[in-house]
Every structure is written in structure tokens, then in C-alpha cells.
């Protein structure tokens, strides 16, 4: 599993780690979504500090969670994005929908 989730006081933090691709994104998605549905958080924090690699499947993961958070009336925050992920994040334009 490439994610650990922590829920506290309306905020859901997903600590992502390892390599995020189409293969690993599925389990991350299932795990984060079940926590969102359980708690209906006002904020989802995706923490990329320990992510070694990410392709556009990671962007799909961010976009999908953004849509889900919008449905439950919450927002999404990207934090600790390491320099090696900046390029794909900039290319995708997801910065405009996240905080």
C-alpha cells in the first residue's frame, strides 16, 4: 500500500509514498475514497513528501479526489511536493484547482 490516511478534526491527510503509477494509484484511490466517504472531511491534504516517482496517473488521482471533495463540500490541498514532481504537476495545471 502506498498511502497512509489520518483523520483529525475535519481534516483528512493522505501520506503518499513510493511510486505512483496506474498500478499503485488504484489502491490509493480506494483507500482515500473510503475515508472521504466515512468522514466527509472539509479538507483533504495530499502529502507528497515521500513520493519517489509519479506519472500522469497521479494527476488523475488528484483530479478524481478534487471532484469527490467538491461533492462533499470540501477542498483539496497538495503539500510537500518534492522538486522532481514539480514538472508533471506544472504541466497538468492541477495547481489551479488545489491549494
Amino acid at each position: 500500500m502506498n498511502v497512509k490516511t489520518i483523520y483529525d478534526d475535519g481534516e483528512l491527510t493522505a501520506l503518499l509514498f513510493g511510486e505512483i503509477d496506474h498500478h499503485t494509484a488504484r489502491d490509493i484511490r480506494l483507500s482515500v475514497d473510503s475515508e472521504i466517504e466515512k468522514h466527509h472531511p472539509t479538507k483533504l491534504i495530499l502529502d507528497f513528501r515521500r513520493v519517489k516517482f509519479m506519472d500522469s496517473s497521479g494527476i488523475g488521482l488528484i483530479m478524481g479526489r478534487y471532484r469527490l471533495m467538491k461533492l462533499v463540500g470540501g477542498e483539496i490541498v497538495l503539500c510537500n511536493v518534492p522538486p522532481h514532481l514539480e514538472r508533471i504537476i506544472a504541466l497538468s495545471g492541477v495547481r489551479s484547482i488545489t491549494k
Binding site: E19, D21, H22, H23, A25, R26, R29, F53, M54, D55, S56, S57, I59, G60, L61, M63, G64, H84, R87, I88, L91, S92
Partner: protein, 152 residues
């Protein structure tokens, strides 16, 4: 420009092989001494192409994906990724950023990433026969430049 090395790889269209494919290609290009950024660019582009073959080419079904990679002494890398899947009807449309036939969790950025992370990208496809993606990147030969300076 001389061919330094060549490799051929064939593997099943399983998502667990996305990691295997990008790791194998990144190990293969190491003799050119790429920077961490250059290596990350290559790994990402390979991951996108292989993922496309799995999701779109074979639509999660069984099939074989082939990779041919070549490195040249001037720092040129040529990577060809092939599948015998359903092919792409409209390549220009498939390459548009944010276009995705499957929607949902797919960002539709695969080709945009390949295009922007590599120096050259060529896609050929035939419906019901398969798709072939050829990507090129040039690595600046730092170690060679250094040697040439020392021993002109």
C-alpha cells in the same frame, strides 16, 4: 554517431509491469550518465506509453508489449514501445492534452507528458493491428566532454 548498445524486452500487458518497464529502461540508459532529472523524464515517458498500451491498446486484456531501446555514443536515446492492441483511430485527437476516451481517473495527459519530457515523439497506429510509439532524447555527455578536455 555510433550505436553503443541495444536491448529488446517483451512482457505481458499487466499493470505491475509499468514499474518493471520504466526501471529496466532507466537501467539500460545509465551508461550515458544522465542526470536525475533526465532519468526521471525518461522513466515517466516510458511509464505513460506502457500504461497507454495496457489501458487503451489491450483494454486491460491480455497481450504483449515490446520495448526496443538504443543508446548512441553522442548521447542519443531511442525508445520504441509497441503493442498489438486495438490501435488508435485518430492519433491527432488522442494526442490532444486532456483528451481521454476512458475519462474518470485518467487525466488524458499521457502523450502531453511524452511530448514535453522527451525531445522527439512519433506515434504510428493501425486500427486492430496495434500502436507504436517512438521517443528520442539527447543526453549531454558530461563525462565524455570532461575526458576530451583532459586528453584532446
Amino acid at each position: 554517431m555510433e550505436l553503443m548498445n541495444e536491448m529488446n524486452l517483451t512482457f505481458s500487458s499487466k499493470s505491475m509491469n509499468e514499474n518493471f518497464a520504466r526501471t529496466a529502461v532507466s537501467a539500460f540508459v545509465l551508461p550515458l550518465d544522465p542526470t536525475i532529472t533526465e532519468l526521471a523524464d525518461i522513466k515517466t515517458a516510458v511509464s505513460e506509453a506502457v500504461t497507454n498500451s495496457i489501458i487503451h491498446g489491450y483494454e486491460y486484456g491480455e497481450g504483449q508489449i515490446g520495448i526496443n531501446a538504443k543508446i548512441y555514443d553522442n548521447g542519443r536515446i531511442v525508445i520504441k514501445i509497441k503493442d498489438k492492441g486495438k490501435g488508435i483511430e485518430n492519433i491527432a485527437q488522442a494526442m490532444e492534452p486532456l483528451f481521454s476516451t476512458v475519462g474518470g481517473e485518467r487525466a488524458g495527459l499521457g502523450f502531453a507528458v511524452m511530448q514535453s519530457f522527451m525531445d522527439k515523439l512519433k506515434v504510428t497506429s493501425k486500427v486492430n493491428c496495434g500502436t507504436s510509439v517512438t521517443m528520442e532524447k539527447y543526453i549531454i555527455r558530461r563525462s565524455k566532454a570532461l575526458n576530451d578536455d583532459v586528453n584532446p
